[in-house]
Symmetry: C2
Subunit: 157 residues, 2 copies
DNA sequence: GTTTCAGTTGCAAATCGTTTGCAATTGACT
DNA sequence: AGTCAATTGCAAACGATTTGCAACTGAAAC
């Protein structure tokens, strides 16, 4: 059940594939964009825009540009936006042809993130949609708890 | 399955019960707090702080006070905070003894909110927690789609 | 009922994530 | 190489939320 055999959003993608995808949307491959994509490639985890900025060679790119790039990448389906309940959006690269839908388990102490392969049961979601007359229903789902290390740390205090 | 028989967070609570709960936490029952609780009582829906402010007789209470009150009420378990993915927190009164855990179905066009009684399967959540060594695992889950009215509206365009 | 004081409040300023206007810059095509 | 729309950096603007501080007010004690 804890499968990992299916297409995983975290398989590292070729840089050329990424730029091709952008070109496919008739967008320029600029220095900042290439740099951002490279960071996303290297960090198979949801990243905030600030984290992306920090990971970038300093002065490489303005924070505003990162925000604009993430909007673009989101619109073209190349990244997916996640919310962990603190104010900030986090982004992950999405595999080509994938919709990037998945969930996370987040440590509420240290913010460690584990990717989760389980999902909310489709049949139940469809029943919920139907019962309320809603169409095009999806969901956001994130798990929160205390990771093994933080359990340790807490015990010591 | 689509049960509605269990304790529902939306059963309107007595004002006196609410103030008693606050007193139980050795907090003062002030004008602003009583007014906020009254609004929450009257609106069995997740409300943003701004919506609470708007619902309040004008000048009744400062926005900062609402923020502070919601923190207090959250800490004492009297309200539960929800995130719908736009920047703002939303709050709902929680029944006494209840933990307020539940989910919503939100229209992405008009923001209509329907309360949902289904929940993520406990066994699966426990398995996820165990598989990753996490303790005290919960989840946030919200559904998004297009409500019947907005489907209508979209069709007309 | 008055006193008393910690708990509360309003107001303004500060913070944080995010967006936007604008002039300068630059990919990509001719 | 030349052209032009797309893109960027910078600074200002924004919306949600937090906070410092002096004034104020419940509620317990007198």
């Amino acid at each position: 059940m804890k499968a990992c055999a299916h297409k995983h959003p975290h398989q590292r993608q070729e840089m050329s594939a990424l730029t091709d995808r952008l070109r496919g949307h008739s967008r320029k491959i600029t220095g900042p964009r290439a740099a951002i994509l490279e960071i996303l490639r290297q960090h198979p985890h949801p990243l905030t825009n600030k984290e992306i900025l920090a990971a970038l060679p300093k002065g490489q790119c303005d924070l505003a540009t990162i925000y604009r790039s993430m909007h673009l990448l989101e619109k073209t389906g190349m990244v997916k936006r996640f919310h962990f309940g603190d104010g900030a959006s986090r982004f992950e690269l999405v595999g080509e042809g994938d919709d990037g839908h998945h969930h996370h388990l987040v440590c509420t102490k240290c913010a460690e993130v584990v990717e989760i392969d389980d999902c909310f049961p489709t049949e139940v979601e469809q029943r919920i949609a139907a019962a309320n007359g809603f169409k095009a229903v999806t969901h956001r789902l994130e798990f929160f708890g205390i990771c093994p290390e933080c359990q340790q740390t807490l015990r010591l205090k």
